[in-house]
């Protein structure tokens, strides 16, 4: 009777050891899983930040392109204005010459 009882205790011990080992393993697994989820959350956050950054970057690039286009357009406009100004100045110089010649002629005619 005593031998059966001892056997029973030994089996119980074996089962307990196995249970403790299983619990330890599961605990380790749970912790690892938690860590994995934390990494996943960091990854998600980083990805979101990256997406936002990319969006801002695209917006900046768009603005820069618009500014570049505006600059080019302004420069073209300035070139056109400069050409117009040059033409007008040539015309003014021409008129000034003609007017100078006329007044000289007039003065000489009227003085004579």
């Amino acid at each position: 009777m005593k031998g059966k009882k001892t056997k029973g205790y030994r089996w119980l011990f074996v089962v307990l050891v196995l249970l403790v080992a299983m619990a330890g393993g599961l605990t380790l697994l749970g912790r690892a899983n938690q860590q994995l989820q934390a990494h996943q959350a960091r990854l998600d956050t980083a990805r979101q930040q990256l997406a936002e950054l990319k969006q801002e970057n695209a917006q900046d690039a768009g603005e820069a392109q618009a500014a570049q286009r505006k600059l080019e357009e302004t420069e073209r406009q300035n070139d056109a204005l400069q050409s117009e100004l040059d033409a007008l100045r040539r015309q003014v110089a021409d008129y000034a010459d003609r007017y100078g010649a006329l007044t000289d002629q007039s003065i000489s005619t009227e003085a004579g």
């Binding site: 074996v14 994995l36 990494h39 003014v92 003065i107």
Partner: protein
């Protein structure tokens, strides 16, 4: 022994099951960390790029500001140059259209001046045509009356100078001789430019109609009729010039007579402005030369106040001095102008020669 084997087997089974799971979790964790590193690296790269882009955007903004400033500067220069061009266009117009030197037939007042007076007259004419209104006249050595006489004569001879105020507004002198005179334009050059264009436009249609007529007599009559039909006698501030009569169609005697002289000058028929009194009041009318003879012509009195617009009469049309003497008396200066001795047209019934209806002339003026 059996129990130990079961225990070891159970532990081994646990290890065999647990290890791959743990390894899988570990691998996944490392992959996630690697991905995080990759994302961070990409973010860092993008940040660097953005910094560079921001720097270049800053430079671009500066370039844009500079370009915009240049645009403003160019536009200002353009406006300035356009104004300068308009000024020259006006000056050229003044000089070439109406500013051409007038011959002796068209400068009756100049003809009355001394040689020195004529030089001053010519100098003042060129001065105002150049849109200058301060003149150094010291070299002519003339008194204020002599300067005023030359200036008055200039404006009587050339009604196209309607933008020149008729007064000497200031002067300096030394030893009784005038050194500088200050004249005045009726408006700024921009306004004058517009007025000249308007004046020219209003006169051109009338001149074209008159030029198409066969004889000088018909031209004189046409212009007389046109002014009498279209101009109203009105007192006011701006009623003394050819412009007021031709453009505004409102004038007093001086405006009527100067408009008549302007048209005559442009048609090549000598005519001049004559001053004196009529009906006991100061008055101005015209002298016009036809076939070598001067005649009196008073458009104002041929357009009396009681008459309807578009009507006129010929009571003071091509009259001799003798005929005019009953109502008109020349003043001292005008007495020096050519005498109107011919009585050729004194008894002419001008209505017979009436060429254009009042309605026709009013349409032309409109």
């Amino acid at each position: 022994m059996k129990k130990l084997i079961v225990l070891l087997a159970g532990l081994l089974a646990l290890v065999l099951v647990g290890l791959p799971v743990m390894q899988h979790v570990e691998t996944q964790g490392q992959q996630i960390l690697a991905q995080i590193d990759a994302v961070n690296a990409e973010m860092a790269q993008i940040q660097d790029g953005r910094l560079q882009q921001l720097a270049s955007t800053g430079a671009l903004d500066e370039q844009l500001s500079a370009a915009a400033a240049k645009t403003e500067d160019l536009q200002a220069q353009l406006e300035q140059t356009q104004a300068e061009l308009a000024r020259y266009e006006t000056l050229l117009y003044m000089h070439t259209a109406d500013g051409a030197p007038l011959g002796e037939d068209f400068t009756q007042y100049r003809n009355l001046l001394s040689a020195q007076g004529k030089e001053l007259y010519d100098f003042l004419r060129v001065t105002v045509l150049q849109n200058r209104f301060e003149a150094d006249v010291a070299r002519f050595g003339m008194t204020l009356d002599e300067v005023a006489e030359a200036f008055f004569g200039l404006l009587c001879d050339d009604p196209s100078l309607f933008w020149v105020d008729g007064h000497v507004v200031g002067y300096s002198y030394a030893g009784g001789k005038i050194e500088t005179v200050e004249l005045r334009a009726s408006a700024g050059l921009d306004t004058i430019s517009r007025e000249i264009v308007t004046f020219n436009g209003a006169a051109s249609g009338v001149l074209a109609r008159a030029q198409a007529l066969g004889s000088d007599l018909e031209k004189v009559q046409f212009i007389h009729d046109y002014l009498a039909a279209t101009v109203s006698y009105v007192y006011g501030d701006d009623v003394y010039t050819a412009y007021s009569a031709i453009v505004n169609r409102q004038a007093v005697c001086e405006g009527y007579a100067k408009a008549f002289s302007y048209f005559m000058n442009r048609l090549g028929i000598p005519s001049t402005y004559c001053t004196g009194t009529a009906g006991g009041e100061n008055h101005g009318w015209s002298l016009v030369r036809l076939d070598g003879q001067f005649y009196n012509l008073d458009v104002t009195w041929d357009d009396p106040l009681g008459l309807r617009e578009g009507d006129w009469r010929y009571d003071y049309f091509l009259r001799s001095d003798a005929e005019m003497a009953a109502t008109h008396t020349r003043d001292e200066t005008s007495q020096k102008l050519p005498a109107c001795t011919s009585t050729r047209y004194d008894d002419t019934d001008w209505d017979v020669l009436h060429g254009a209806s009042g309605a026709d002339l009013l349409r032309l003026a409109a």
